[in-house]
């Protein structure tokens, strides 16, 4: 039984992630939902554009966390939304360690092409997570 769950989301396949997380819950649980605003940009990206990107990502993150909160608005679940800036994999692992969570739930299932072109956060987390991980297969 898990008492403290860390849920990660980038706003995609939220219904599947919520469904699988609810299946894990058996009693009272503290649920931390993390959205990481990835702030890194290439060297020649204009500063104003970088600021605009961060603002848009924060607005998007706020919306996603609000939607997630609605999805977990159930008795026995204490929901906490968390928005942090940095490298997604590093921040997820850091939060899991600091919060001493029992399990990390995250979506996965990018195609091989996407994995090579975009990289895979879940693969990086798997290698350094301090706890159990539930990878929800989300790609169609």
């Amino acid at each position: 039984m898990y008492d403290k769950i860390l849920l990660t989301t980038m706003g995609e396949y939220m219904d599947e992630i919520i469904e699988h997380t609810l299946n894990l819950i058996q009693g009272d649980v503290e649920l931390i939902c993390i959205y990481v605003v990835e702030t890194s940009v290439p060297f020649l990206t204009p500063k104003k554009v970088k600021e605009m990107m961060i603002d848009e990502l924060k607005a998007k993150g706020k919306e996603i966390l609000e939607d997630m909160a609605k999805g977990f608005d159930k008795p026995g679940i204490t929901f906490r939304g968390l928005m942090v800036e940095g490298n997604p994999a590093d921040e997820i692992v850091k939060t899991a360690t600091n919060e001493d969570v029992d399990v990390i739930v995250m979506g996965t299932g990018k195609s091989i092409v996407d994995k090579h072109l975009l990289g895979s956060v879940s693969e990086k987390v798997v290698h350094s997570a301090p706890c159990t991980i539930l990878l929800v297969r989300t790609a169609s």
Partner: protein, 318 residues
């Protein structure tokens, strides 16, 4: 050979200087604008539209005013073709999917095609970019900017209070100095870019227009990183908006402003091949986007393939 290597290194260094100087200049101008009490919405919209396009504008402006108009025209038109077919195509391939909103395509996409049609028609009928054409282009840009600011104001009504609070910052000497330094960096960098491009085109025995088209690979670096990063982060509106915004700016301001100072002669090859290709590529993008308001990986491949066909044709058949 040694001279070619030196010129290529100088070109790359100049491009980096120009891109960074443009960044410093735009930042400082926004600060100065805020201190003068100009709305942050107006400044934000203008900075976003101008920011990534300053290297093309500066290079085109300096090239045209220093007697190499073909480099300037080639750079502006070449940048527009590369922005859509190259940058957006590559970004769609990497991100897998770039979505957009109908109202943005209606506003920015329509303006982009209107811009390319206007300049192509002007070139067909007049054969050069005259003062009158320049005035028309600049008026079109002013109207577009007005529409953008109006749209931004209505969509960010709630944030207005925040902007109002932010108004009227103190204007420091450092900000003015940075603006001047940014402008000087831009001018010197652009002059060096044009010099290196012209010299390289002479050594490689290629026409100056083609050299300008190839130069666009470098001057569009800010667009490239902005669009690719936005697409990968899922900020789709920013990705497509940057391309449309840059293409509109490159023609309306990039060619409009220099034509106020001198008549810009244009090579027949540009009038009958490059400009129509620019119209075709813009229409192709709109056609691909219109089907579901998205750009898929396959459509990205179509765009990149179109660019390869264009540049190979340009290099080997003309």
């Amino acid at each position: 050979m040694f001279e070619v290597i030196i010129l290529i290194i100088a070109l790359i260094i100049s491009l980096i200087i120009v891109i960074k100087a443009a960044d410093v200049f735009v930042d400082s101008i926004v600060e100065i604008g805020l201190a003068l009490g100009i709305s942050e919405i107006i400044l934000g919209v203008t900075a976003a539209a101008v920011g990534t396009s300053l290297p093309e504008f500066g290079s085109a402006m300096i090239a045209i005013l220093t007697g190499s108009p073909d480099v300037g025209v080639g750079c502006a038109i070449g940048a527009n073709i590369w922005n859509i077919a190259g940058i957006l195509g590559i970004s769609a391939i990497f991100a897998g999917l770039i979505t957009t909103r109908r109202q943005e395509v209606r506003r920015d996409g329509l303006m982009a095609i209107l811009t390319t049609l206007t300049i192509t028609a002007a070139l067909f009928f007049i054969g050069e970019i005259s003062f009158v054409v320049g005035v028309v282009l600049i008026i079109m840009y002013a109207l577009y900017l007005w529409v953008l600011i109006r749209a931004q104001k209505s969509s960010k009504e709630s944030e207005m209070k925040y902007y109002e609070d932010e108004k009227k910052r103190n204007l420091g000497k450092k900000t003015i100095l940075m603006a001047v330094m940014g402008l000087v960096g831009l001018a010197i960098g652009c002059r060096a870019i044009v010099y290196c491009t012209v010299e390289l085109s002479i050594m490689a025995s290629i026409p100056e227009v083609l050299a300008g088209i190839l130069l666009a690979f470098g001057t569009t670096a800010p667009e490239f990183f902005t669009v690719l990063t936005s697409a990968k982060k899922g900020l789709n509106s920013l990705a497509i908006g940057t391309v449309f915004g840059s293409n509109i700016f490159n023609i309306l301001i990039g060619l409009g402003i220099p034509s106020l100072f001198t008549v810009i002669p244009v090579e027949p090859i540009t009038i009958y091949f490059d400009a129509p290709v620019m119209v075709f590529i813009t229409l192709l993008l709109l056609f691909l986007i219109k089907r579901g308001m998205k750009l898929t990986r396959v459509e990205g491949v179509i765009l990149v393939a179109s660019y390869i066909v264009y540049i190979v044709t340009r290099l080997y058949f003309f």
